[in-house]
């Protein structure tokens, strides 16, 4: 029987690709709180390695292009489910790791301007800092119904 794509391969591929996309969008839109390393060049290299590496690993290694890619593997519904799972894990991983790295090497929170709301807060601080600030400000505002 022909080899087919397994769910674990698909999840790992999507997870790595999503991490690459998040690093890329972080550096392109200056959402520094998403980045593992604030240096632009390093962020670009990480995103390139994650994206190119994941696509190479999934499609090209071991001549999969000529074998596995011409077989059925996961059905549409399974692909949707595992894509959502892997993308969710990639977002959680990126936000957690970038926050931890920023806690170890605090370089954000320049506070040279008023921090933004929502995702925009990630321009000036890590995700954990942004969420803490968001809930603190809500408590300070009092119950709004």
């Amino acid at each position: 029987m022909d080899e087919v794509v397994t769910r674990w391969e698909y999840v790992v591929f999507v997870f790595l690709a999503c991490v690459g996309v998040l690093q890329l969008v972080g550096v392109r839109t200056r959402l520094n709180g998403l980045l593992f390393f604030r240096t632009k060049a390093v962020a670009y290299v990480i995103s390139f390695l994650a994206l190119a590496g994941s696509f190479w690993w999934f499609f090209v290694r071991d001549d999969r292009w000529d074998t596995v890619m011409r077989c059925t593997g996961l059905e549409g519904a399974q692909q949707f489910y595992y894509f959502c799972l892997a993308a969710f894990l990639a977002v959680v991983f990126t936000l957690a790791l970038s926050s931890l790295l920023h806690a170890v090497r605090p370089r954000l929170c320049s506070m040279s301007r008023v921090p933004g709301q929502g995702l925009d807060a990630l321009r000036d601080m890590s995700y954990f800092q942004a969420v803490r600030r968001s809930f603190k400000s809500r408590r300070a505002d009092g119950p709004s119904g």
Partner: protein
């Protein structure tokens, strides 16, 4: 009409087996993973993209519309496939099985309308309405995927065309008629996501 379908199909199937580079490109775009994951990654990028909160919310709404349109398009395809069923080209012309084996694999889903065209065009049309550049970007795999499947003799041109039209119609229906009805719910979701610094 059937004759025209077969003539146009023969133009595409003739591409297979001539140049190994072209065959590899067709394999890449016909397979179940590459175009779909590429489009999904662009949609993930879209969620975070935008110079300011207004632009970003517009992009995020485009993603929500695309997700709902893709799901709805799958449902519509299922409904239509029960109304009008015909075989895949490789089932009706067994000499085309070589094309299928070179590029893809023999699928057993209903051929009309093409599910992949409906899904990819629904995504492209949904995003196009709110962000022209990204909509065009998604249109590239949305076009190349059905072209590769035509070359593989998995679909007739009419299957692909019907799928594309269904996907585009679904995107406009969802974005302009359905989503406005759910606006209060969507706005509340955005408030919660903004509080969690995710939107």
């Amino acid at each position: 009409m059937a004759h025209l379908d077969e003539t146009v199909l023969s133009w595409f199937t003739a591409m297979v087996g001539k140049w190994s580079v072209l065959d590899r490109i067709l394999i890449l775009f016909a397979n179940d993973y590459f175009p779909v994951v590429a489009i999904s990654l662009v949609l993930l990028y879209l969620w975070f993209m935008g110079k300011n909160p207004v632009e970003r919310e517009n992009n995020q709404r485009a993603l929500i519309n695309a997700a709902v349109s893709i799901g709805s398009a799958c449902g519509f395809v299922l409904a239509f496939s029960h109304l009008n069923w015909h075989g895949h080209p490789f089932e009706e012309a067994p000499e085309l099985i070589d094309n299928v084996n070179r590029i893809f694999y023999p699928i057993h889903d209903p051929a009309f309308p093409s599910n992949t065209s409906a899904v990819t065009f629904a995504a492209a049309a949904s995003v196009w309405q709110r962000n022209r550049q990204v909509g065009l970007l998604i249109l590239v795999p949305a076009i190349l995927m059905p072209v590769a499947k035509l070359a593989a003799a998995v679909y007739y041109p009419s299957d692909v065309l019907a799928g594309a039209l269904l996907g585009i119609a679904t995107a406009y229906f969802i974005s302009n008629l359905v989503m406005p009805c759910f606006e209060p719910f969507v706005s509340r979701v955005f408030i919660v996501l903004r509080r969690l610094c995710l939107a």
